[in-house]
Amino acid sequence: MSQAVIQLLRQKFGAAIVETHAQFGDDTAVVESSKWLEIATFLKNDPACAFEMLSDLSAVDYPERTPRLEVVAHLYSLTKGHRVRIKTRVGDEEGEGAEIDTVVGLWGTANWLERECFDMFGVNFRGHPDLRRILMYPEFQGHPLRKDYPAEKAQPLVAYRTDEEAGMSIDKQAPFGPHEGMSFARNDWTKRAEDAN
């Protein structure tokens, strides 16, 4: 669909384009995190690209990789009718120091998308006007969509009632619980990351 855009990016930015691939017709460019804003600006403003719309911006956690987090942006051009996906890799093995420039100045929708990305993955966006949690509450510790966050670890705002207060057992009964009665266990992502290294 947008091989031309990928070619254009390669010509213009050369070594800053780390790798490219296409899957199911979606062309993807993995770029240097330091060039993120520059490349995004080019993609929006260049008449041959004209990506007026930021469809989505999120991240993926790959615990066995370094840099660990991958920020993904999906762009769509309303006038040209083509799409492109750009990715960049940030953060060390622990996901610390994940920081890239904000694209709020280009697409207004990036404001909330980047806040969500910060909330769920702990990616910091330099220059974001209002970078705070959007889904979780301010008291929440950690970033829940990172693979090493235990999925069932809740951080209640209201202390749970005890069985004595309730006058009965208010535990979640089977088939709920850690494995919901299933015969297979949850993926231990921390262990998988250790095995990979």
Binding site: Y137, A154, Q155, P156, A166, M168, K172, F176
Partner: protein, 195 residues
């Protein structure tokens, strides 16, 4: 537990008086005039609408139709849908603002136990935060199930029992099959005769 009220029919010009216990009278009055506070947070709300609209008419028939959007004027809190950790303080505050006597009804699996949201976002059952009187299972529950739950709550109110999760003994039509109304048969046995 109080005995249920006996009904008496007066015909003609009879006069007289009836005696009852104040608790029983209050229980009877309360169970037929529930003012609900709908705390609707998720997809169960659709089923709640089906319940209250004409086909099932599941609340007006039981004197529980009028919603009050102020917790101070309502005595039945319907928790309809998933309660996230972020909402839990709001729910607790709403409950605390309600006047005694008050009852809570957990509508659907999420409100009852958190459902399949076994993760960091969801309160695993509203009884972790506030007392709950009736749990209605289902994802979402059928309106019949909700009506059943509402009737259970009415029985509980009439009995004056404030302990949590008291369920009255239920009549199971299968167990009472000796009257011949319900017969359990395996499919295929009828065509091949009685054997």
């Amino acid at each position: 537990m109080n005995a249920p009220l006996k009904s008496v029919t007066l015909d003609g010009n009879e006069t007289g008086f009836a005696t009852t216990k104040l608790d029983a009278l209050l229980g009877w009055a309360r169970k037929w005039s529930l003012f609900k506070y709908p705390f609707v947070t998720a997809c169960c709300g659709m089923e709640f609408m089906a319940l209250t609209s004409p086909r099932f008419d599941g609340t007006a028939r039981f004197g529980a139709e009028a919603p009050r959007f102020s917790p101070r004027q309502s005595d039945l809190l319907w928790v309809v849908g998933t309660i996230s950790q972020r909402q839990a303080p709001v729910l607790k505050r709403i409950y605390e603002q309600m006047m005694e006597p008050k009852w809570v009804l957990a509508f659907g699996t999420c409100a009852s136990s958190g459902g399949f949201y076994d993760n960091y976002t969801t309160v695993p059952g509203i009884d972790k935060v506030i007392p709950c009187d009736v749990y209605i299972p289902g994802c979402p529950p059928r309106p019949e199930a909700v009506i059943d739950g509402l009737m259970l709550l009415q029985d509980k109110i009439a009995s004056g029992d404030r302990r949590p999760a008291i369920v009255k003994p239920r009549f199971d039509p299968v167990q009472g099959a000796q009257d011949g109304l319900v017969q359990i048969r395996k499919k295929g046995l009828l065509e091949g005769g009685d054997k």
